[in-house]
Amino acid sequence: MIRRRALLAAAAAAPLARPARAQASVVKIGVLNDQSGVYRDISGPTSVACVRQAVEDGARGLSVEVLTGDHQNKPDIGASIARQWIDRDGVDMIIDVANSGVALAINGVCKEKDRVYINSTGATADLTGPACAATTVHWTYDTWMLAHSTGAAMVGAGGDTWFFVTADYAFGTALERDTTNFVKQAGGKVLGSVRHPFPGNTDFSSFLLQAQASRAKVVGICNAGTDTVNTIKQAAEFGLTRSGVKLAGLLVFLNDVHALGLEAAQGLVLTESFYWDLNDRTRSFTRRVLPKTGGVHPAMSHAGCYGGALHYLKAVADMGAAEAKRSGGATVARMKAMPTDDDAFGAGSIRADGRKLHPVYLFEVKKPGESKAPWDYYKLIATTPAEQAFRPLNEGGCPLVRA
C-alpha cells in the first residue's frame, strides 16, 4: 500500500516525491492509555503532555509526530489500536499503557511487530519477568519495587508490626504476599489481615476497626484507586492516623493525594520514583511541562513517559531515524547500551531484561500546616539506591537473561 502510494507520487511529479520521502523518516510515537476511565488521572492527558515535552526537549532535528489513543482499560481495544497504529499509521514506539492487563497485551503486539514498547504506568513486574521481550522497556515502577520499598524501608523507619487491608483479587493478594515477605525479611511482624470484596465495597470502616484492634503500628493498604481513597479517607475519619498508626499505601500516586486533600491524607507513607519537588532538575522539568498539563503536577507515572520518550529519541538520533524505524528490537538494544539521563529521574540505565534502574523514594504526606504551596505534599523519609530498588536480574525468570 505504502509502496504503491510512493510510486504514484513519484510518477505524478518529481518535486512531490521529496515530501513523501521526508514523511517516511518521521518518527511516530503513540501514547496509548486510559483517557476516560479510572486510570485517567494517573496516565491520560498528563502523560501525553509529558511525551510532548520530551519531544520539545530532545527531538534534535528529528521530525516527530505524537498520536494519542484511549484503550478504555480493555486489552482487546488496546491491542487493536496498537495494530492499527503500527500497520496503517507506521507508529514506531508505543508508550505509557496504564492497566497491567492491557500492558501485557500491547507487550505481545509490539514483540510480534518488532516495535518499541516503553511501559510507564502499567504495574505488573511480569513485563520484565516471564513476559519480558527484547522490544520492551519497563520504565517507572513495578509491583516488586513498590512492595519492597514500602515494606522494607517502612520497617527500617520503625514500623515493625503490620496489618493488611487487602482487596480480595489477584492484584491485592499478590501485593500483600510480596509486602509480607519484605516486612518479614526486614525483621518485622505481620499481625493479621482482612480481605475485602472487590469490586462493590465502599465502606472500609469495619476493616479499619479490625486493623485498629490488632494494635499494629502500620496498616498496609493493598488495593487501588477509589478503594484506596475511601480507605484513607475513612481511616482519617476514625482517627487511626491521629492515634499514631501509620498508613502505608502500596499503590498511591500524587494525584490520589491531591484528590484526598492533606486533611485526610496526612501521615500516609508511600513509594514513588519521581516527585516534582525533589531537586532542581525535577523542579525545572515540572516548570516546563506545567503549561501543557493545565496545572496538574506530574506523578511518577507521567514523568516516566517523559524520561522514556526522551531516552528513546536519544537512541533514535544516535542510530538514525531510518535505522530505528526498521527494527524495534535494535532500537531497544541501543537504548540499553546507552546510559540514561533526564531531568525527572537523573542518571540511570536499562538492564538486559528491559528494567529501567533508578533510585526509589519513600515519602510521607505532609500535614496541612507543613504544606507551603499548592501540590507541596511530600517529605522524603528514605531512599533506596537504584541497584537495590528493583528485583534482582536472576529472580525474574526473563528468557532474555537466561539466553
Binding site: 476516560s36 476511565g37 479510572v38 486510570y39 485517567r40 488521572d41 494517573i42 491520560g44 480480595d168 482482612v194 480481605r195 475485602h196 470484596p197 469490586p199 462493590g200 465495597n201 465502599t202 465502606d203 470502616s205 469495619s206 476493616f207 476497626l209 479490625q210 484492634a213 484507586g225 477509589t226 481513597v229 475511601n230 479517607k233 475513612q234 475519619e237 476514625f238 482517627g239 494525584n255 490520589d256 491531591h258 484528590a259 484526598l260 486533600g261 486533611e263 485526610a264 493545565g294
Partner: protein, 311 residues
C-alpha cells in the same frame, strides 16, 4: 469482656452500629428508587449517577472558583457565593432535583406507555453519559471534601469511638426516610399520588394535574439521591464512579423489599446494612455477596419481595 462466637463484644457492637449507618445510605437511596418505580413505573438506573451529581454539586458549591477556573481560567465569583456543607444539604438536592425535572420533561416522559425495559435502557444510557461527562470535566481520581467543623471528632459510645459525622448520617438519613414515608402514606398529597398511579385518568378527571405531579415525584426521588450524595461527600471518595459502586446493592435492596414499596425499602435498607456489617466480622470476603444471597432466598420464598404486593 463478653465475647460472641469468638468475636469480642465491643468489636461486634461497633460493627453492628457501622452496619446500621451503611444501612441508612442503602435505605435513603433505595427509597428514592422505590418512590420513582412505585409512582412512575420507571426503573431508574440513573439513580447512582444522580447520587454522584449530588456529591459533586456540594463540592461545586463549596469551591466554585476551583472548578470555574478548570472550565476557563480567569472565571470567578465572589467568595460569599461559596456555600459550605449545611446550605449545600438543601441547595444541592434542589439543583439536582431540578435537573431531574428537566430529564423527566424532555426524555423519560415519552416512555411511560412502553415496557419497563425501555425505561431501564434509557436511564442506564443517561447514567453512562452523565458519568462520562463528569470524568471528562473533573478527572477520575475525585475531589476532597472536608467534614464540617461541627461534626469533627469522635463520640465515646462505651464500646467504640464513633465519629460524630456517622451519627449525624444515621440521624439525617433516618429522619428523611420517616419524612418521605409520612408524606406519601399519611398526607393528602400522598393519597393523590397513590391514586394517580392506580388510575391516572380518573384522578385527572377530579381536576388534579397528574403529569405535573408525576414530574415533581421524579424530581423528588432524584433529590433524595442527591441528598444521600451530599451526606456521602465527607466520608466517601467524591468521584464520577461513586454512584455505580452503590447502585447494584441498592437495586438488590429494592428487590428484596418489594419493588415500589416505601416501607419495604426503608426496613430492608437498614436490615441489610446490619447483615453486611456482621458478615464483615465473620467472613469479610463475602460481605458484598451476602446481600445477593439474601435476595435469592427472599425471592424463592416471596417472589414479590418482603413487603411487595403479589401482582
Amino acid at each position: 469482656m463478653i465475647s460472641i462466637f469468638g468475636v469480642p463484644g465491643p468489636l461486634l457492637f461497633g460493627q453492628l452500629s457501622l452496619g446500621l449507618i451503611n444501612g441508612a445510605f442503602y435505605a435513603l437511596l433505595s427509597l428514592g428508587l422505590a418512590v420513582i418505580f412505585g409512582m412512575l413505573n420507571i426503573i431508574n438506573f440513573a439513580h447512582g449517577a444522580l447520587f454522584m451529581l449530588g456529591a459533586f454539586a456540594s463540592w461545586m458549591l463549596l469551591v466554585p472558583n476551583t472548578w470555574l477556573a478548570m472550565i476557563s481560567p480567569g472565571l470567578s465569583v465572589p467568595d460569599w457565593l461559596s456555600l459550605g456543607y449545611w446550605p449545600a444539604l438543601v441547595v444541592a438536592p434542589v439543583l439536582v432535583g431540578a435537573f431531574g425535572l428537566l430529564l423527566e420533561r424532555t426524555v423519560i416522559r415519552r416512555l411511560y406507555k412502553l415496557d419497563h425495559l425501555y425505561g431501564l435502557l434509557l436511564t442506564f444510557g443517561m447514567a453512562l453519559i452523565i458519568e462520562g461527562l463528569a470524568r471528562n470535566a473533573f478527572g477520575s481520581s475525585g475531589m476532597p471534601y472536608r467534614t464540617p467543623d461541627a461534626l469533627q471528632g469522635p463520640v465515646n459510645l462505651g464500646f467504640m469511638f464513633m465519629p460524630k459525622y456517622r451519627l449525624w448520617v444515621l440521624l439525617a438519613a433516618g429522619g428523611m426516610c420517616l419524612l418521605t414515608w409520612f408524606l406519601i402514606e399519611r398526607t393528602q398529597l400522598g393519597a393523590r399520588l397513590r391514586a394517580a398511579t392506580e388510575n391516572p385518568d380518573l384522578v385527572q378527571a377530579f381536576g388534579v394535574n397528574v403529569p405535573r405531579m408525576i414530574s415533581l415525584t421524579y424530581a423528588g426521588g432524584v433529590a433524595l439521591a442527591a441528598f444521600a450524595g451530599v451526606l456521602a461527600a465527607p466520608i466517601y471518595s467524591v468521584n464520577p464512579n461513586m454512584g455505580s459502586n452503590f447502585i447494584i446493592t441498592v437495586f438488590a435492596v429494592v428487590v428484596i423489599g418489594g419493588m415500589g414499596s416505601i416501607l419495604g425499602s426503608i426496613v430492608t435498607g437498614f436490615g441489610l446494612g446490619i447483615v453486611e456489617g456482621l458478615t464483615k466480622v465473620f467472613y469479610p470476603q463475602a460481605s458484598a455477596t451476602v446481600i445477593f444471597v439474601v435476595m435469592v432466598i427472599v425471592l424463592l420464598a416471596r417472589p414479590a419481595g418482603l413487603f411487595g404486593k403479589a401482582a
